[in-house]
């Protein structure tokens, strides 16, 4: 097995707590975006922001623990997020073709 290298000093310069606070802040911004915006694309971007805050957090934890599995998870998140983007954009384009709008307030056929 390849031995994991010790944590470089340059990483320790910024405490782990800062990363935690930053990514939590990004995550909360994403959540607020999803809950308040009305444009499907902007909601979508907010979701991506949430995913990227997770990536940041995982990489921070991973380098502080000198454990590469966290970074592997980030690869998977990126690839899966791309697949999600593809499907999500396809759905949005499909709706745009039918209704000529992407404002989610116009979508209220389903009620009850």
């Amino acid at each position: 097995m390849i031995q994991p290298p010790a944590i470089p000093e340059i990483i320790q310069l910024i405490p782990l707590k800062s990363y935690l606070i930053l990514s939590t802040a990004l995550f909360v911004i994403g959540i607020i975006g999803v809950l308040t915006r009305r444009n499907a694309i902007v909601i979508f971007m907010s979701v991506e922001l949430m995913l990227n805050s997770v990536n940041l957090l995982l990489i921070a934890f991973s380098s502080y623990r000198s454990d590469p599995t966290g970074q592997v998870f980030v690869f998977f998140i990126m690839a899966v997020a791309a697949a999600e983007v593809a499907v999500g954009l396809a759905i949005i384009v499909m709706i745009y073709r039918n209704t000529r709008t992407i404002d989610i307030n116009f979508l209220k056929k389903l009620k009850g």
Binding site: I2, L13, F75, A79, A82, A86, L89, R97
Partner: protein
């Protein structure tokens, strides 16, 4: 004592300050006599038409989507590339490591190729050309007459051009 990031911050601040200073000096010194020609976007005389925020043709969308999908799968090649040429591993396994890693990646890329081939056969990679609609008119004059006239003057137009 400044940390590395402190120095970086100083650089940024100094850069912004210098920029502001130079622009400010320029503003004080230069004459200010605007006219319509000077304010035009392209001084070459090209008139801009319409807004820059036009919507792109939907045809770009499928291609872009496919690109995003296949491009992002490449990140799995990076960790593979790191261990593929690892000399320790190759020596420990008498060279079998390289073949093993290569076969694994062939399987992975093969699946991607299957996906791409599916999109190709389905025709999503074809660039759809716009079909210009020939305007239909309802006129009492039959089309054959027009054709006859066209034929009659065909030679002259060819000569002209």
């Amino acid at each position: 004592m400044l940390t590395d990031f402190g120095i970086l911050l100083l650089f940024i601040l100094a850069g912004l300050g210098l920029l502001g200073l130079i622009l400010g000096i320029g503003r004080l010194l230069r004459p200010d006599r605007p006219n319509p020609e000077k304010n035009a976007t392209y001084e070459s005389g090209e008139e801009p038409v319409g807004n820059a925020n036009v919507q792109f043709n939907v045809r770009f969308y499928v291609v872009a989507l496919l690109f995003v999908l296949f491009e992002i799968e490449l990140i799995f090649l990076f960790p593979w590339a790191v261990v593929f040429g690892n000399e320790d591993l190759i020596q420990q396994t008498d060279g079998r490591w390289g073949w093993f890693a290569l076969a694994e990646m062939t399987v992975f890329v093969g699946m991607l190729i299957l996906g791409l081939a599916y999109a190709w056969v389905k025709g999503y990679l074809d660039w759809v050309r716009p079909k210009p609609a020939i305007p239909a008119t309802e006129s009492p004059v039959p089309a054959a007459l027009y054709e006859a006239i066209n034929k009659k003057y065909e030679s002259k137009t060819v000569n002209k051009t």
